[in-house]
């Protein structure tokens, strides 16, 4: 194909051609749409055939396994996107194509789904994904400060990391993708952060910095609650529904700690004070009579 002039590809639209309404000036009350570079426009518009060889025979078998779990095949799409993410560390164009092939969907149908959900990442991620809750309650307890500190601390060039930026080379040991997250449903333990979706509760700026430094050194500090820390790809495989096949390995991840002191506070208080729910009848009461239909 000859050199495609940018802008010509969308039926003559000027997308990516440089001039955007950002040129309208700073006092105009609109958020400027960032200009798409010529290179990005090419990537978006020039048809390409993604290389699916990264998805080996074992992944095809797993995909078939997922489809068999549901009455209708398309229901397997969300787990399958977790599966492709476990292979590449993100959902690539090849991953989209792979899912589409397995489920007889179009690439557009799969892309529409992959872009809707925040857990599907569209660019390569680090060995670990660090998610800091910055929803109101965690934020006020220190989540905002933690996120801000990590943005600076993980920076490699002095500029603070942005949402979903990676420190280090994606996929390499010790690399970390940082994101801010919405409520992670651990509000009594706030501020919380997650590494590969395992909970680290009651964090401070100092403990969070210590944690990411340990991750960069290749260590895997144990989460407050959850399985021993692995890496993002391993967790994605579990989210797809695949677990270690040996019993010992399986029990090891199931039996990790889960009940924080906070979780048990009410029950513990009741036990200490001798408080209970009203006693149930000795024998379970008979089920109510209903008219035969």
């Amino acid at each position: 194909m000859t050199d495609l002039s940018t802008g010509a590809t969308y039926g003559g639209s000027s997308v990516g051609a440089g001039e955007t309404h950002a040129a309208a000036g700073p006092d105009v009350d609109v958020v400027a749409v960032s200009a798409v570079s010529a290179e990005q426009t090419r990537a978006l518009t020039v048809p390409s055939t993604p290389d699916l060889s990264v998805f080996g025979a074992d992944i095809v078998v797993k995909a078939a396994d997922l489809i068999a779990r549901y009455p209708q095949s398309r229901s397997a799409l969300l787990p399958m996107l977790h599966l492709v993410q476990s292979v590449e560390g993100f959902v690539s164009q090849a991953g989209i194509q792979f899912c589409a092939n397995q489920l007889s969907l179009s690439n557009a149908e799969v892309s529409a789904v992959a872009t809707f959900y925040t857990m599907y990442k569209r660019k390569p991620c680090g060995e670990h994904l660090v998610s800091v809750c910055t929803n109101t309650l965690c934020a006020v307890l220190g989540g905002d400060s933690i996120y801000q500190k990590l943005q600076e601390h993980l920076s490699e060039d002095g500029a603070p990391l942005k949402h979903e930026d990676t420190s280090g080379t994606p996929g390499e040991p010790g690399s970390i993708t940082l994101e801010h997250a919405e409520c992670l449903a651990a509000c009594d333990l706030g501020p919380v952060l997650q590494v590969n979706y395992e909970f680290y509760d009651n964090q401070t700026v100092e403990s969070a910095v210590e944690l990411v430094d340990a991750l960069r050194r290749g260590e895997k500090p144990a989460p407050t609650r959850g399985a021993p820390l692995s890496d993002l790809r391993t967790v994605e495989l579990e989210l797809a529904g695949f677990y270690p096949e040996d019993e010992a390995g399986y029990r090891a991840i199931i039996d990790g700690p889960s009940a924080a002191v906070e979780t048990l506070r009410g029950a513990q208080l009741a036990a200490d004070r001798g408080w209970t729910a009203p006693t149930m009848p000795e024998t379970a009461p008979a089920l109510p009579e209903v008219e035969k239909k």
Binding site: Q72, L77, M119, T136, V140, L189, Y197, L239, R265, G266
Partner: protein, 436 residues
């Protein structure tokens, strides 16, 4: 004297769902069986589906996911025939800001949910149940998968459960990060492998739900309550709570209190009582505002310490009960800032399907950001309220309604703080967290 006056007072904390959490390895089948696990299932299978629906109706169990719809009534909407497969779907997409009850329940006591699922599925003639769990909690998902595996091996799941002839499969399904999937029809679309966007109702899921087949969607805490109702009976369940809001409820207390955590107490417990349980306000800094059940429920203030936190009490006081996610904020927190943060959340999580919510949350967040940055004007307050009027009740689903709750209630109780952010009203004020 009536029997009610003779009845012994109920204790301030009534662990039912949370009681087993204290046992070592509470998530394993062996522990669960030692603690009366699966005894309710044996009993339920001796009855008919109609009897179980009636039992849950008699108990007055109301949905614990936020809306409070009577569970037995919801179950009774399922058609009696089985022309199409029936589905039971468990909404475990816990994500409402402040809410943190279902995740610990599924981690600590997954079998109580599984047992509830089998009983509920039997009552609704369903042979395939899905548990839709938000993706960000792999440990919960592991525990549920392990519980399904154990229960299947023990004959509590699978074909011909305990010799009853009843078959049930449970599939644990991980979501992928979208608050909107907690809305039941969006959840169903997501479970079908689509973008999680809500559907028009009617038809309601009982008529046309998953794969257009009869479906009931219930919250985790609702279904986990069912085995206790089978074992204790409707009258026992009603010894806790009030006439119209019976039973125990997990109150998740978080924020500026001494001992945040999960406190299971009878419905109708007040914040004053909850604060006593959790040691009062942290460092004795006074209470400023709080939510009775997540950010989508209009906020309360110190005036509301004695509001009974049940479905009726919260509504009478101008809010809703929601998920009983009690977030407590002290005087150091700026209300406009907190409202802005919540609004940014709704903007991010709006699915984009309907215009009022998609555009409304975008502009609401923008205006609040401008105000918090100190560039607001008094007319911004009117604009906010005007947009709220155009989102509330005009959006496709309840996300829009939830999005305006913090703004409307925040301005109602703390208008002065919003005014203080406006250019012409800037006065030297004590520094509030977040309001820079």
């Amino acid at each position: 004297m009536t029997t009610a006056e003779n009845a012994p007072a109920v204790d301030p904390v009534t662990p039912v769902l949370t009681k087993r959490w204290l046992s070592p390895k509470s998530w394993q089948l062996g522990t669960y069986e030692q603690l009366e696990g699966y005894t309710a299932l044996r009993k339920a299978l001796t009855g008919t589906p109609e009897q179980l629906v009636q039992l849950v109706k008699n108990a007055g169990l109301r949905g614990r996911g936020g809306a409070g719809f009577p569970a037995g009534v919801k179950w009774s909407f399922m058609p009696p025939n089985e022309d199409k497969p029936h589905y039971l779907v468990i909404n475990a997409d816990e994500g409402e800001p402040g809410t943190c009850k279902d995740i610990p329940l599924m981690m600590a006591d997954p079998h109580s949910l599984i047992e509830g699922c089998v009983i509920a599925a039997y009552a609704m003639r369903s042979h395939h149940c899905f548990i839709y769990v938000r993706g960000e909690v792999p440990h919960c998902i592991r525990r549920l998968n392990a519980a399904v595996r154990e229960a299947t091996a023990a004959g509590y799941l699978g074909a011909d459960i305990l010799g009853s002839g009843f078959d049930l499969r449970i599939t644990v399904h991980a979501g992928a990060g979208a608050y909107i999937c907690g809305e039941e029809t969006a959840l169903l679309d997501s479970l079908e492998g689509r973008r999680g966007q809500p559907r028009l109702k009617p038809p309601f899921p009982a008529a046309s739900g998953l794969y257009a087949a009869p479906t009931t969607v219930n919250n985790v805490e609702t279904i986990a309550s069912v085995p206790f109702i089978v074992n204790g009976g409707a009258d026992w369940f009603r010894t806790m709570g009030s006439e119209r809001s019976p039973g125990p409820k997990i109150y998740s207390v978080s924020g500026h209190v001494e001992r945040p955590g999960q406190y299971e107490a009878p419905l109708g417990t007040t914040l004053r009582q909850l604060l006593e349980l959790c040691g009062g306000m942290k460092d004795d800094i006074p209470l400023k505002f709080w939510t009775p059940g997540g950010s989508s429920t209009p906020m309360f203030t110190a005036e509301h310490l004695d509001v009974p936190l049940d479905f009726e009490g919260a509504v009478e006081a101008g809010s809703i009960l929601g998920t009983t996610a009690v977030m407590v904020f002290n005087e150091t927190v700026s209300v406009p800032w907190a409202v802005m943060k919540w609004t940014e959340f709704y903007e991010h999580e709006s699915c984009g399907k309907c215009t009022p919510c998609r555009e409304g949350t975008y502009w609401l967040a923008g205006i609040l950001q401008r105000m918090v940055a100190g560039k607001g004007t008094e007319s911004d307050i009117d604009t906010l309220l005007d947009i709220c009027d155009n989102v509330l009740g005009r959006s496709f689903c309840a996300l829009g309604d939830g999005a305006v709750s913090p703004i409307q209630s925040g301005i109602k109780y703390f208008r002065d703080e919003f005014l203080a952010l406006c250019d012409q009203n800037k006065a030297p004020a004590p520094a509030l967290a977040g309001a820079h």
